[in-house]
Symmetry: C2
Subunit: 344 residues, 2 copies
DNA sequence: TACGTTCTCTGAAACATTTCAAAGATAGCC
DNA sequence: GGCTATCTTTGAAATGTTTCAGAGAACGTA
């Protein structure tokens, strides 16, 4: 009767001598079926090796059991930590998580979103290439719950979860100023990235409020936020005339900072004595660097978890209101800025 | 007529004044429909904002458009590179990739597999916690194409893709011997992990074939393959009496090596002069470490790509034969073992 | 005009599940 | 035994797509 097919509820029903509806009840409302019947059905399922067909379930029920996260850059561990936070929240809600990676390409992002729409996922979490991209509006227009992660978006068109990047920039540079540095580099880019702009803004704000000369906060733009770009920024830094050369650098993320650190040590500089370095994100490899990296910590997992909760609220709560959650970053001082052998 | 529902083929058909079948043809066999009609249908789709319901498609067509990868450890960038390779191959075949993370927990792995079975994915790629786990047999018994990545499995029960770990162990230790080291540590564990055993075996083989005393190859077992365990192994290493203390360490992966590197430098050792270090995997952060890490490179993306091709072959080719692909690892020598200021 | 070919299009059946009104069984009570 | 209330089970309808046999139209040819 089965001839090789994978068994369906119908087969289970036949084997257990009950109707389709009863088998469905055993799966979805076990409390309404008598213990005896339930056991017989469960037995039949096990014997036949029945596995529920999720497509059919979803088609009829109209609702999927998955969330999706479209991450921006798979090579940055930061996003994996965010994903891990989402995964934990999804697990609690008994949902699966679909992880996609746009690799900073807007076209790839659009392809992923289209497919997720086809899958009718319950909600989409995304760290977009460009928060203003029209394909994001498309989602909200369709009514798909969406939360922007680690970016913000104008108006209250959707929920978002981020860290106060201006504050992050302030505390990083404040820390460097406290360590006695009078000329500081800001490394990051391209400045189409909102975070870069805001971290720089925070850096400038605190710098000026400390009464320092704006000229002494040197902006070294990069093409991307990668280790390789960090190294190249290090070379440019080394190329500056000594009088103009900063004694400390604030990098817009940890990958840049690690690249800078590597290049500097390779060039014979002592960190932090010749060059102090602050990163951003506090990824695991920051602490594990040979000179452990001072960094502005974002609560990565917490970010993901909060985002997941917002998207679930939007999906299930009829009087959901969009929120823009902002977390507070925190400075983690390590050896790349603080020299233990020197009293400050 | 739509009252808020998301539009279906039926709505498109009505709007374009054609039948259901024609709309379906426009999507799946555009060549059989006349240009005029096709354009009218496409117009209607765009106007209504039609998005195909993947569940219904899959239910009827009986086949999904997704592959899945169950990775072992989301904190190790190695697996993300493998995933990236799979993703590229999937993209070529116009499939989506579902990435799950078992976090080295067998129970979590089983949950993911069960869900993937429900989704009727086309094939499963997996780096299993335990290649002998019965829930893997279950998959093959059900006829779901499966490929083991970075592990091997007895017999020819399924395809697998891996690197020759014994060889990897040999070339790592051979390199250290060439650099003049006469006492070497092997750091890795637990030895329930096949890789650890094989890399150690390779190390021992070459060591003995070079006529060295087995006593001089010191095995320092670890609890896990993490940065933290690498640091702790460093402490144990430092605790050995000087006469017994190795001057070089071969770590079973790069995370261990990075931890060891960090601990060693923190303790004032010079790398490689006081301690040379070789890692395994050649993750991106290996090259980016402050003392760039010598490592045994696995072709990570290639591994993923090959695995995806095997699983697709199994899914589509009726006379598919299981294969055990083995890639050749390659030593990448960097500053953690080779001192530029010293002639060898 | 009649006929065969080729090109388009149609509409009903099938996929595996959930849902729900209603039927049936069981038990308690007078 | 008859009645009601409660607990179980049933079976048909519905979900949105693909498939496919066959109906129609258009066209060239004899």
């Amino acid at each position: 009767m089965l001839n090789g097919r994978t068994p369906s509820v119908k087969d289970v029903a036949a084997a257990a001598g009950v109707s389709l509806g009863t088998v469905s009840n055993v799966m979805n409302r076990p409390e309404v079926v008598s213990t005896r019947t339930r056991e017989r059905v469960e037995r039949a399922m096990a014997d036949l090796g029945f596995v529920r067909n999720e497509s059919a379930r979803q088609l009829r029920a109209g609702t999927s059991r998955t969330l999706a996260y479209v991450m921006l850059d798979g090579t940055n561990p930061f996003f994996h930590d965010v994903a891990q936070g989402i995964e934990l929240a999804a697990e609690d809600a008994d949902l699966s998580l679909f992880i996609c990676n746009s690799n900073s390409r807007s076209s790839r992002e659009a392809v992923h979103l289209d497919r997720l729409l086809q899958q009718r996922v319950q909600g989409i979490l995304i760290t977009p290439v460009d928060p203003a991209a029209p394909h994001l509006d498309e989602l909200t227009r369709r009514g798909v719950p969406m939360v922007i992660v680690d970016r913000v978006r104008g108006a209250d068109s959707c929920c978002s979860v981020a860290v106060d990047d201006v504050l992050g920039g302030r505390i990083a540079v404040e820390h460097l100023a406290e360590q006695g540095h009078t000329r500081v580099a800001f490394i990051g880019g391209p400045d189409s990235i909102g975070q870069v702009r805001e971290r720089l803004q925070g850096a400038r704000e605190i710098w000026e409020s400390l009464g320092r000369d704006p000229e002494d906060l040197v902006y070294l733009p990069t093409e991307a936020m990668t280790v390789a770009e960090g190294r190249s920024a290090g070379e440019r830094l080394a190329g500056l005339p000594v009088r103009r050369r900063p004694t400390a650098a604030f990098c817009a993320n940890d990958l840049l900072a690690l690249g800078l650190l590597q290049q500097s040590i390779g060039a014979g500089l002592r960190v932090p004595d010749d060059l102090a370095i602050v990163g951003f994100d506090d990824i695991e490899f920051a602490a594990a660097a040979a000179v452990p990296l001072t960094s502005v910590r974002q609560p990565r997992q917490e970010l993901g978890r909060a985002a997941a909760q917002l998207v679930l609220d939007e999906a299930t709560n009829p009087d959901h209101r969009h929120q823009q959650l902002s977390f507070t970053p925190e400075l983690v001082a390590r050896a790349s800025t603080v020299n233990r052998n020197r009293k400050i």
